[in-house]
Symmetry: none
Subunit: 207 residues, 4 copies
DNA sequence: TATGAATGAGAGTTCATTCAT
DNA sequence: TATGAATGAACTCTCATTCAT
């Protein structure tokens, strides 16, 4: 495990011996085959335990997915909100930092980010609500920054309402194509998307 | 059926009595529950035919999905390429028209667009290749326009390489949140996203 | 199949090829191992078909049990009510015929009778209600006869209220111990229990 | 706990701290869901202990059931035999007392009585034999009394052989319908069934 | 073309039981 | 004595697919 992914562990050790292996196994399985395409048997095999033992940790497959998404979205929200807190002043700087935090999360936890966007649909009830709530709060951070910048005249976009959504869309979509062996480093990617975000809201150079 | 969705029918009548109902049923089923979450029984029920009759039309569930995605991507490619053909001159105008065509496709065939992005992963082999090829050709249209605009100095973005991908990402993501009862009309949406695209590539006003 | 059990077939041929074999297999399985002790695999094996094919006939194990009990109780109610209809006059004669009809049902369909009393508890909801309703209507036939006899003074028992229940209890309990190879024939048994019933309600000889 | 059920405790304190709670939990679980329908987990939960701790007290689920039934049948046999011992003379008086003792047992330990009749079938081997032996000895008490009364001419029934079985059947069936909030008290019920028993064997008033 | 019956594989989940502590 | 973790077998039920008609 490199310094990146351990910087803030998404799935760290808990009191229960097999919890982390199971969650990681589920992450890979759901990521590769989708929630309905992956079987609990496969998760167990990957986790190096028995099928029935899975149920000592999570009461159902749906709960397993829920826990995964809960952790991913909580971590993303945490990183993003802490990033904008650090930078107090100016919508441009804050937007830049928020985007960088988001992108770095996606790079650090690419599979979790991918699963988080593609498998939420299979959650239901309270599990779903909880995850959606965290996701909405993350989105709201971007909404507010863009609204603030638009109000102050710094962001010239005539459509500030939907720009923030597109910024988040671009960032999370990274999880669908990024390969860490590729041309772009984590920092390049963060830098680049911060730039895209400011371009999208049409930041005025002179401001 | 209104003029929009029938303008170019994604799933039109063919010589085979139940083909269109089956494809439409599969579209809804896969859209609502995902490829692996939907069953052939459910597709049959929605299509108003028997389970076994499905196999008179499509040799397998995978072929059914493939046909669906093939039609969606072909239509999207067709619309987009025709849009840029009509407008011969200028990267800005061509980008604008390409985006509008893409967005209009997503609005006209929202469910198909959604299924096309979320369920490709369940295709394999030649079926997958064919679909990916059509998708890449659509993407290439945007790539070329942006490259051309960047080369001519019209698009000032320092990262022209990835900007086109983000444009397509923004357009296709519309399928995940759009509701035709919402605030934005089809034309608004097209207009808005054309604007976003030009902002993203940092079009120079003076050019 | 001898003339007795075919006199009125509990599980006869229907339009569906495997329905009767499945029901009979379930009857034996549930009878031998109890509802929860018997598995659907076992039922399938006994019926000479595949496990999954069971579900083409009955939507669940519970429905299978329900159908079994529904048929048994309906047939019992039918036999008993027809027996008392034939004999219009006199509580003594009517009680005698009702008991004989009941006993003959138990002998003719011993296993079904046994399952009907021992496995109703595993039914729930409407399935259960329906079966209980039929059972109550059968009991009511005896209740009415005893009440009538008590009212007329023919039956001297000071506890007419509960006597009818005990009569039915004695008859149905036959299913728990009877062996058709035993000392008592079907007719002996019917005769004997009719006698017991009249003794229990303390029929006055002179009446 | 009232004087009735503690008069002779079916499941009393032993040297082992959790034995009584486990037995009581099993009694309720088996009573409500049947032997195969109840799980060891459920028994543990009801007993307020852990699943694995159950096996410190009973080597298997079957042994747990066996112990339950052994206690119930022993207590029933004990009560019944002591009842007839107290009353030395006369088949009528002895039958009356035997029935009353049986009925009182059923009322005092209704759930145990119910489980004893409905779940014996799931016992096997020596466990089963032991329980059946106790049950047969209880039945034999009634058999002997009826035989004696028939021999002396006091009981006029032409079918003395099976009458005793029906008497026991009626008594034990009480466990299937009795509610202690109902119309009949424990003493009423005992009295009533003693009366039914004497009627069933056709006791001659003059004798 | 259309159907209902049939099938083997596999799904998620629970079971009684054992093990390590 | 007591526990939580672990296991392999078995459960009910559903799956995509095929067959006979």
């Amino acid at each position: 495990m490199n310094s990146r992914s351990s910087s803030v562990a998404l799935i760290g050790e808990t009191g229960r011996r097999n919890e982390a292996p199971i969650l990681n196994a589920a992450l890979v399985a759901f990521g590769e085959e989708g929630f309905n395409g992956a079987s609990m048997r496969e998760v167990a095999k990957r986790a190096g335990t028995s099928l029935s033992n899975l149920y000592n940790y999570f009461p159902s497959k749906a709960h397993l997915l829920a826990e995964l998404l809960r952790r991913a979205n909580d971590e993303l929200l945490d990183r993003t909100s802490r990033a904008v807190e650090r930078i107090g002043d100016g919508p441009a700087a804050r937007l830049r930092e928020a985007v960088k935090a988001y992108v770095e999360f996606v790079v650090d936890h690419q599979l979790a980010a991918l699963v988080a966007i593609s498998e939420v649909r299979y959650l239901q009830g309270e599990n779903r609500d909880q995850v959606v709530r965290a996701r909405d709060r993350t989105q709201a951070i971007f909404d507010e920054i863009v609204a603030e910048g638009a109000a102050s005249g710094l962001f010239a976009t005539p459509y500030p309402q939907d720009a923030a959504r597109n910024i988040v869309t671009m960032c999370s979509a990274i999880s669908t194509w990024y390969h860490d062996t590729g041309r772009l480093s984590r920092e390049d990617l963060a830098q680049q998307h911060a730039h895209y975000a400011l371009a999208l809201v049409e930041t005025r150079p002179g401001h």
